[in-house]
């Protein structure tokens, strides 16, 4: 019996000790939270430096606004499959688009190449504007279909696939039309951005060469 009592006493002491340590941990946590946010407790500005800091802030604001794209530009959200034609902070037009599927194509024979069908993300420019474009099918287009890759350029050319207009933004990527309009709003492409006919026409006519494209 005494051994059992000792065990209970030890367990109770351990439990109380644990609670005490946990209580201490919460006190430390509360102290840390009260010192937050740290920026508020940092060194202030001396009166003599006030005008210099004000000038500095104004200069930074000017520099920041100078970084914004000039004129019309395109913003593409690859997650939502939306294209925004913008002018400054104003959204001039919104279009439902299709971006890259994220699928990986692996060549099982030959060179055993691999392609990842992502729409590239980053800052780009409109490098080319083409009316009535034709598609020069790259190797992956044949490999994906299980067809032999042709040797002649003529065998790679396909018309009508890219719609009426295409805006190139480098590395073979285009904003172009599509026959698959019912898939607009889904991630289905090989990396290009597919747009519906009406939106594509408006964007093509409005956006000049060199205009910025932000894809995220």
């Amino acid at each position: 019996m005494p051994a059992k009592r000792i065990l209970i006493a030890v367990a109770a002491l351990l439990y109380l000790g644990f609670l005490a340590v946990l209580g201490g941990a919460y006190l430390v946590g509360l102290k840390q939270v009260s010192a937050w946010p740290p920026g508020e407790t940092g060194p202030g500005i001396a009166d003599k430096d006030l005008s210099r800091v004000q000038r500095n802030v104004l200069q930074l604001e000017r520099k920041m606004s100078g970084l914004l794209p000039k004129g019309l530009y395109i913003v593409i959200d690859t997650a939502e499959n939306r294209l925004y034609l913008k002018n400054g902070a104003d959204v001039v037009r919104t279009a439902v688009v299709s971006c890259g599927s994220g699928v990986v194509l692996e060549e099982s024979s030959g060179k055993q190449r691999k392609w990842v069908f992502d729409t590239p993300r980053g800052e780009f420019n409109v490098k080319s504007k083409i009316a009535n474009p034709y598609w020069v099918k790259p190797d992956w287009a044949f490999i994906e279909e299980g067809e032999a890759v042709p040797r002649d350029l003529e065998d790679r050319i396909e018309s009508g696939t890219l719609g009426d207009y295409a805006l190139g933004f480098g590395e073979g990527y285009f904003i172009h039309g599509t026959l698959y309009t019912r898939l607009l709003g889904r991630n289905v492409t090989h990396g290009c951005v597919r747009v519906g006919d009406e939106d594509l026409k408006a964007i093509f006519k409005a956006v000049p060469l060199g205009a910025k494209i932000y894809i995220y």
Partner: protein, 226 residues
């Protein structure tokens, strides 16, 4: 004489009004200068960056100083050392069930490609039930609703949507244990070995918010925590 007295009265009122605001303005100005300096260093490059405004309760994705997406925080919890603000870089993004890319082999696409639509859609509209098609693709809906972001300054951020609770009673118990027992104790003992723990949990209103953050935040992205 009367005119001079009126002017003097206006100046005095202006002075009295200005004095209480000055110390607040100074603190605000110092903070603004610091955050703008930090942001300009990121915005002058063409890369995307994020701004986590903890007091403003929002997370933003930006480029060139322009806000691309803004996700308001529903709630926020924190344990550990408070000095985690400043410029940071995401070093690791992790989740229990990370979405995996679909790998296709030659000839697979020919079997699965849906037929083209018959007529074009009006501008700015979503096609009728676009979700009805099962596609071989990695989409926003495939992204996790709970995940962790580890930053180079030692800050760990757990992101979750309001609906993404732990699975079952045991999951809820495990999460409660972690937040209310494990983290306080780790915080207490990590202070002694000089490392210091910083654990932030951000909860967002909708599943899509958390999923979009997973989609847009890649390892290596830089940002500012205000």
């Amino acid at each position: 004489m009367k005119k001079a007295a009126t002017i003097a009265a206006f100046i005095a009122i202006g002075f009295v009004c200005a004095v209480p605001g000055t110390s607040q303005d100074k603190a605000g100005l110092a903070k603004k200068q610091n955050s703008m300096n930090s942001e300009y260093s990121l915005a002058k490059e063409s890369n995307f960056y994020f701004v986590l405004d903890v007091l403003g309760r929002k997370l933003e994705l930006r480029v060139r100083g322009m806000v691309l997406r803004s996700w308001p925080l529903k709630s926020m919890k924190f344990w550990g050392r408070p000095g985690f603000s400043g410029n940071v870089e995401l070093v690791h993004k992790s989740t229990l069930n990370a979405p995996e890319r679909i790998i296709i082999k030659p000839g697979d696409a020919a079997k699965t490609e849906p037929a083209p639509a018959a007529k074009p859609l009006p501008s700015g509209t979503t096609p009728a039930n676009p979700a009805e098609f099962e596609l071989e693709a990695l989409e926003l809906k495939d992204m996790p609703k709970r995940f962790r972001l580890d930053f180079d300054n030692g800050l760990h951020v757990a992101i979750k949507s309001n609906n993404a609770g732990p699975a079952g009673f045991l999951g809820a118990l495990g999460e409660a244990w972690r937040w209310y027992v494990d983290l306080p104790l780790r915080n207490l003992f990590s202070r002694k070995d000089g490392k210091g723990l910083a654990e932030l949990q951000l909860t967002f209103e909708s599943d899509k918010d958390a999923q979009a953050i997973y989609w847009h935040f890649f390892e290596g992205i830089k940002g500012i925590i205000l």
